[in-house]
Amino acid sequence: MTLPADSGRVALTVARFALKHVAFLLLTLLVVSFLVFTLNEFSPGDVARKVLGAYATQEQVDILTRDLGLDRPVLVRYVEFLGKLTRGDLGTSTRFKVPVKDIIWGRLGNTAFLAALAFACIVPLSMLLGIVAGMRESSALDRAILLFSTVVASVPEFALGVFLASVFVVALGWLPGTATMVAGGGWSVGSQLILPVAVIVLFDAGYVVSMIRASMIEVMQRPYIRTAILKGMAFRRVVVRHALRNAMINPITVILLQINYLISGVVVVETVFAYPGFGRMMLEAALFKDIALVEVGALVAVGVAVLTQIAGDLAYMLLDPRIRT
């Protein structure tokens, strides 16, 4: 077992890994796009009806249905749709009356901004709390952190929003109740972001803390921690040098999967604070049966999900030398 052979094998593992995941990504996208596409088949007439409004005659609806090509077999239209997608033609939103690409990227950008802010808080916060709690199981500090994380992870986002708003907006008047991303009413964009980010961070960090804590507890019971302590190392050093990396192996995938939640799952928070994000756009599109937008939005969401999964698996491989070979 010489080193070059080793690194060659690692390269092979990575290549195989990449190939496998890209294939899975494509497969998932294909399946999802087809599912969403056929979903609309259950109510084909509805599209035209939605566009034309309730007072249009059945004849008008039929004509539009034909014009839109909605009367042809689903498979034909699906293949056509895929062809358009690959040419970069994302279609037109019936709800917002603009091309899909004109609305979707802006909204996605807004959400990504919010997500990045929240993620930047969640990771260090939950690592700190999780490690500190898990390094001494059932100490007073551990119990306190466990209780805190359980409680904040239990309160639904809209309830957290209501609670925080009732204190900081209604009672104290320190912060604005909405985050429209347009400075106004005396509130800067920065101040608008505080509450949405706080809600997301509290709700999500609670969950991540408990994951890291559980992993840390398990690691602290491993014999190699005893080995390190009995080498005469100080406890803090044992935690940092020997426990930390091991304790992050399992949660790392979960942590990266939070990106997925932060992009697609924050629709509730966006609704509470009237934030012009991706989730709220999807909600409106779905309620309006805006097929083109729903279709592309779903693909984007799934793409993000699968990419974060891949990132999670990669990070796992980086942390754990055992699965590299």
Binding site: Y224, T227, I229, L230, M233, N246, I249, R322, T325
Partner: protein
């Protein structure tokens, strides 16, 4: 012994504090360990030996505490050390080596980092100096190619290499005391022998004191000068190895020695004598001797009224036993083998025939991987087993013995070759497709008492279900029959209501045997049935198997890595190495020269609990070749101490019929093997 002991325990009392209250594990332990001395601490699981080790380095967790007495290390009470003094002591003055080296090494840190850490921490060495020290240490523990070794992760090493790393890590700071807690448990015998040899050598060279904790009396003999026998948290007997083994004065020590199958023992001559009863809970300590309830020499009143002190054995300075009747006990005699053991019977009809059996495991062909070589678990096995005999299959881990058991049982199917049970070809028949009659014919007893019974089902249900499935016994009758079977395995019938969490390891294994008996099988395959049990329990299970086999005329295929047990129980023995049988014959033939060189190495590696019986020592070096990349010649050639040349690597060795039924697969002729192996020991064999 020097005047000032390195370590001294003075009525040390240790307790754990649980929800049930204080559990006093060690009521008051006293012993001393001199500089450069090696002392073994033996006893069965639960006797508190690991607690002692952890108390010395004051690592008892939050639940454990030293509640009385003193533990003096280099003259200072460890209970009174400040945190920084404690850290200074740990790793630098006292180092520890543990069971399961894989688990004791950090999986995400290179071996080099973990080694270098110690001198960098304690001596303030820089990277470069620490690295040089680590390299020196690797050479000391005989790990070749140190540079590349330093860059490896623990999972890239074999079990023996891992334990060498742990030992290197312990000795790198030149500690005064080395505590070894079951350091070789879980390693193969040949690897164990090499590790024990290394420990003995390093201890001589560095003058380190060693506290060696083990459940295996044989390993203690190989490493230590003195021995302490622990029972229920007390040191019941202590003295030099020779004193204790030649003249054990405590009934428990005698019990341990009597229930141990040793290489010289045979079921036809000296039965194993299990210790009756089981270890009592530490929650309730009896007033007098802790062993009284299980002792055959107990004298009510004298033994049971007040605490027994450790009494010196008269005329034997340094030897003490904690028994009021120590002086009155009859002299003890080691049960030794008689020269010629009975030959295995070859009378009954053949019930099991294996011919050219092969088993290949092909790696699952995934979408994106291919071309990986298959693992050859079994590589052309030929065996014949007759009615009523016990065939033992022995070999180290990875030799394919468990795969063989699974193929026989139908849990796996063969890739090639024939398996005939009662005249029926079953090699490619999974147990699911075997007809009822055939399923009933062959049953299995498994290794792990904790996994052999379903934790959700009661013992009675497990047996009853087997009766209903295998013998179509109606429900009501099955319950009655299940109780009867519990009686057969010597368990009280009311145990039938219990789920496995309320059964001891030995009891679980008995229930498993009763379950296997439910179909009244002709062949019982037992895969390491006693290897997870304490010696006293092991003895009673071996006796039970022996008895059942004799009374039912059943055939027993006994899979084991333990040659002592095999020597005791078997009529015939097959020795396996890398998926092939290298030697087969009656137990008397296999355990006497000429041996296959591998059998010879195995035998010399077995730790024998007898200071006088240290025979020829052969230390096998080199790793086990992987079963995916089999050598074209003899599978053993890479490690064989008697390799004669290139022929061993290139040409498959012939099968030589030494005597009727005794076959050795080797290039060396039998006469030559006999000559080599009867020659005087060329003691300690060269180690690479």
């Amino acid at each position: 012994m020097t005047d000032e002991p390195i370590l001294e325990l003075d009525h040390a009392r240790i307790s754990y504090f649980t929800r049930a209250g204080e559990v006093n594990v060690i009521p008051g332990l006293s012993f001393a360990l001199g500089a450069g001395e090696a002392m073994g601490l033996v006893g069965e699981s639960g006797c508190g030996k690991s607690t002692v080790a952890l108390a010395i380095v004051r690592y008892l967790g939050r639940a454990g505490r030293i509640t009385g007495g003193r533990i003096l290390f280099e003259g200072r009470d460890v209970a009174g050390l400040s945190p920084s003094e404690l850290r200074e002591m740990r790793g630098r003055r006292v180092a520890m080596v543990y069971q399961d080296p894989m688990a004791s090494l950090n999986p995400v840190m290179t071996v080099g980092r973990q080694l270098m850490e110690v001198p960098m921490l304690h001596e303030g060495l820089g990277e470069r100096a620490a690295r040089a020290r680590a390299l020196d240490m690797l050479a000391e523990v005989k790990l070749l190619d140190g540079e590349s070794m330093l860059a490896r992760y623990p999972h890239q090493l074999s079990g023996g290499q891992q334990q060498r790393i742990v030992i290197a890590m312990a000795l790198i700071a030149e500690p005064a005391l080395l505590i070894m807690d079951e350091p070789t448990t879980g390693l193969d015998v040949t690897v164990e022998a090499a590790v024990l040899d290394l420990v003995r050598e390093l201890r001589r060279r560095h003058g380190t004191s060693v506290l060696f904790i083990s459940h295996n009396l044989g390993t203690v003999v190989r490493v230590c000068d003195r021995i302490g026998v622990m029972y229920a948290g007390e040191l019941v007997e202590a003295g030099s190895i020779r004193q204790v083994f030649a003249n054990p004065r405590h009934p428990y020590t005698r019990g341990l020695l009597d229930c141990l199958p040793t290489l010289g023992r045979d079921k036809r001559q000296t039965p194993l004598v299990p210790i009756p009863g089981q270890v009592a809970s530490a929650l309730v300590r009896p007033a007098g001797c802790g062993f009284a309830a299980r002792c055959v020499h107990v004298e009510p009143g004298r033994c049971t009224s007040e605490a027994i002190p450790a009494l010196p054995v008269t005329g034997d300075p340094g030897h003490a036993a904690q028994c009021v009747r120590a002086a009155e006990l009859p002299p003890w005699e080691r049960r030794r083998a008689v020269a010629d053991a009975a030959r295995g019977r070859r009378s009954g009809p053949i019930v099991l025939r294996v011919e050219g059996l092969e088993k290949l495991y092909r790696p699952r062909p995934g979408l994106f991987r291919s071309g990986r070589a298959p693992v050859r678990a079994l590589n052309g096995i030929d065996l014949v087993v007759r009615k009523g005999e016990t065939l033992a299959i022995v070999g180290e881990s990875g030799c394919g013995k468990s795969t063989l058991a699974k193929v026989l049982a139908g849990l796996e199917t063969a890739s090639a070759g024939r398996v005939e049970i009662g005249g029926r070809e079953v090699a490619s028949m999974r147990v699911e497709s075997r007809p009822l009659e055939l399923r009933r014919t062959i049953q299995m007893v498994f290794q792990n008492p904790d996994s052999t019974l379903n934790p959700s089902h009661s013992a009675g249900y497990a047996i009853g279900r087997a009766l209903r499935r295998l013998r179509r016994t109606p429900k009501g009758e099955a319950a009655r029959e299940a109780s009867r079977l519990l009686g057969v395995v010597k368990l009280p019938t009311d145990l039938g209501d219990r789920k496995p969490d309320r059964l001891s390891g030995g009891q679980k294994q008995r229930v498993a045997i009763a379950r296997a008996l439910a179909g009244n099988p002709d062949v019982i395959v037992a895969d390491e049935p006693v290897s997870a049990l304490d010696v006293s329990v092991q003895a009673s299970i071996i006796n039970l198997l022996n008895e059942i086999q004799a009374s039912r005329e059943a055939t027993l295929v006994f899979i084991s890595h333990d040659l002592s047990v095999v020597r005791y129980l078997a009529d015939h023995v097959a020795v396996m190495y890398l998926g092939a049988v290298v030697e087969v014959g009656s137990v008397a033939d296999v355990f006497a020269p000429p041996f296959h060189p591998y059998t010879e190495a195995l035998l010399s590696a077995v730790p024998v609990p007898d200071p006088d019986a240290q025979g020829i020592r052969i230390i096998l070096e080199g790793p086990l070749p992987s079963a995916t990349d089999m050598p074209s010649g003899c599978p053993f050639s890479g490690r064989c101490p008697r390799r004669i040349g290139a022929i061993c690597d290139d040409t498959p060795p012939p099968t030589r019929e030494i005597s009727s039924g005794h076959r050795i697969v080797c290039h060396i002729p039998a006469e030559e093997l006999t000559r080599l192996q009867s020659a005087a020991p060329s003691s300690p064999s060269p180690t690479r």
